[in-house]
Amino acid sequence: MPAVIANNLTKQYGKKKDIVQALKGISFEVEQGELFGIIGPDGAGKTSLFRILTTLLLPDGGSASVDGLDVVKDFKAIRHRVGYMPGRFSLYQDLTIEENLEFFATIFNTTIKENYDLIKDIYQQIEPFKDRRAGKLSGGMKQKLALSCALIHKPSVLFLDEPTTGVDAVSRKEFWEMLRSLKKQGITILVSTPYMDEASLCDRVALMQNGEILSVDSPEGVIASFKQPLVAVKNDNMLQLLNDLQQFEGAQDAYPFGEYHHVVLKNGYTGPAVADYLRQHHYEHAAVQTIKADIEDCFIALMKSEKH
């Protein structure tokens, strides 16, 4: 049985005049023990989805279940067994690290000792500061504490809503390593993030935009679905270069990507054609490289194709 099932979930906010359709029929399944990512820009509906699955909001339509329990009918039972870490740091700022953890352990009818194994790797990193108040911690430490608190009752499904937003690159990397080790303990993890590069760290990812899921696949599957040729271009005047690349008849799309511009080519065009085009436009030293698409290119393509 899948750990999480969402079936045609809809949710809207506001009244008659300005209705915002936050979720427009979301369906997906998450298997037991899977690390499932939901990737999407701000406003895609990720938080609404998480709140429905954690029984905090009622869906307007559709149904969903967590651990086989219905999110509307069996909300009490679900609240006993899931772990939830909201997007915003939501612990008690005037309690110390230890007090916060102890408090959440008691609330869930357990003790720190009982499940210490589960949080050991994470908690050990902040344990030296256990007498410090949560409000005085750095972003990365807050996030570790929040994760420890969400894990302390050994949840069967863990919901992490944008856990890496506002956290530095090193802490982000560490955080994903922690998630992978948690996965080994058999916990199903749903994690949402606006960062596309984090998608490749999940078992499967759902790409979400404007309240809809564009695709659900493994990162490899997503990349494999990208069939068109792709080149990376670099030159001195990057801004002008981007304009010119977008004018190129063989370019389906061109966008900045790190220190390069990526150009998605229409079928039949290749890297040398781009180089020729650039030479005609007096880019003598332009570096053109045919590359393999990574997951971000795939998402950009998916999101753009949805818009047009």
């Binding site: 009622l58 909201p86 005037d94």
Partner: protein
């Protein structure tokens, strides 16, 4: 139960670590009692008066001594002409001028009647009224003494006795009032704010996705404020007995029981506010306008309800503080027992249950 205790402990941590708020919560009743007791008093003491004595005889001398000796007046100035009176009032140097005409003692002795003029500064009408009353009664006392050995035909004397508060001390009415005000402020305002704060900080979101029952969350939040209120009731009572000399004539136990009943009513109201608001500011605003103002205006503590127009008198009935104020006055000042206040106690209990049921029904088990 362990959950509950842990939650209460957490709540105490919040209160204890916010030293400034704690200081206000515990210091406020003391400050208010002291302010009302010594600064904001409508009793008149040691008012500065001037005397324009155009007669300067035995009788006026005696009256002057009487006035000066009373604790209401201090003679600070002797005036020698009418323009000086006006000048003294304009300078604000005096509150009252006493003017004896020429031949005061002579008139009194030979014509059996003499006149004295009192001029008061009525820019504060209440004070002016009180001062002239005091002065008149001192003069009448003097007259009584000199007529003692003669029989006057047809005299009716009104003998007054002020029951329960013979000295007409203001403290007798403001101690119950301040008690109502402080409990209201601590309980209603603080409960509303602490629950809404959890919503604002997002911790409520996590609390909801936990096995903790909403009712327990709310009850756990109320416990520390109930205890804090008992501390406040105690400090108010101690101050009023030992500093303001207001005795507790009735049963202390009954008084504390009623205090707890009122505290719970306030807590329930704060709870109701918190279920309806999402920001601390709104909660504070509603608590202040919805509870604090009516407590001051319509409880009878500042303004007598009997003198209000009918609509306000009707509205005053739904202000819990009105009933509490009445109960405290009856029990503490008049020394009456539960037999005298059972009706008011029942009304408060009814209000408590009503507010409690309403707020529990309104408590959201989800975010929206």
């Amino acid at each position: 139960m362990k959950q509950f205790i842990s939650f209460v402990k957490k709540e105490f941590h919040h209160i204890w670590r916010d030293k400034r708020t704690l200081f206000i919560l515990l210091g406020m009743p003391i400050m208010q009692i002291l302010i009302f007791g010594f600064a904001l008093t409508n009793e008149v003491k040691n008012s500065q008066i001037a005397i324009f004595d155009q007669s300067n005889d035995a009788a006026t001398q005696a009256l002057r001594t009487e006035l000066d000796a009373s604790r209401y007046f201090d003679v600070v100035q002797d005036i020698h002409s009418y323009p000086e009176i006006e000048a003294a009032f304009k300078k604000g140097a005096i509150k009252l001028a006493v003017i004896f005409p020429e031949n005061f003692a002579n008139d009194l002795d030979h014509f059996n009647t003499a006149q004295v003029q009192l001029i008061a500064d009525a820019s504060d009408p209440n004070v002016a009224n009180t001062l002239t009353n005091y002065a008149t009664s001192i003069i009448l006392d003097y007259q009584d003494r000199i007529t003692n050995n003669r029989r006057l035909p047809y005299t009716i004397k009104a003998e007054m006795r002020m029951l329960y508060n013979p000295q007409l001390k203001g403290a007798y009415s403001f101690v119950p009032g301040v008690m109502a005000m402080v409990l209201m402020l601590v309980c209603t305002l603080m409960t509303a704010i602490t629950i809404v704060r959890e919503k604002e900080l997002g911790t409520m979101e996590i609390m909801l996705v936990s096995p903790m029952r909403p009712f327990k969350i709310v009850a756990a939040k109320a416990v520390p404020y109930l205890l804090l209120s008992i501390v406040n009731i105690t400090s108010i009572l101690l101050l009023s007995v030992f500093v303001l000399d207001v005795p507790i004539n009735g049963s202390l136990l009954l008084l504390i029981f009623e205090g707890i009943l009122f505290t719970l009513t306030c807590l329930a109201f704060g709870l109701l506010i918190s279920t309806k608001t999402d920001s601390q500011q709104t909660a504070m605003f509603i608590a202040l306008t919805g509870m604090f103002l009516p407590t001051i205006m319509l409880s009878g503590f500042m303004f007598p309800i009997e003198n209000m127009p009918l609509p306000l008198r009707v509205i005053s009935n739904i202000v819990p503080a009105k009933w509490f104020y009445y109960i405290v006055k009856e029990v503490m000042i008049k020394g009456l027992g539960i037999g005298a206040v059972w009706k008011e106690t029942l009304i408060l209990t009814g209000m408590l249950l009503f507010l409690l049921v309403l707020s529990i029904r309104n408590f959201k088990i989800r975010l929206a």
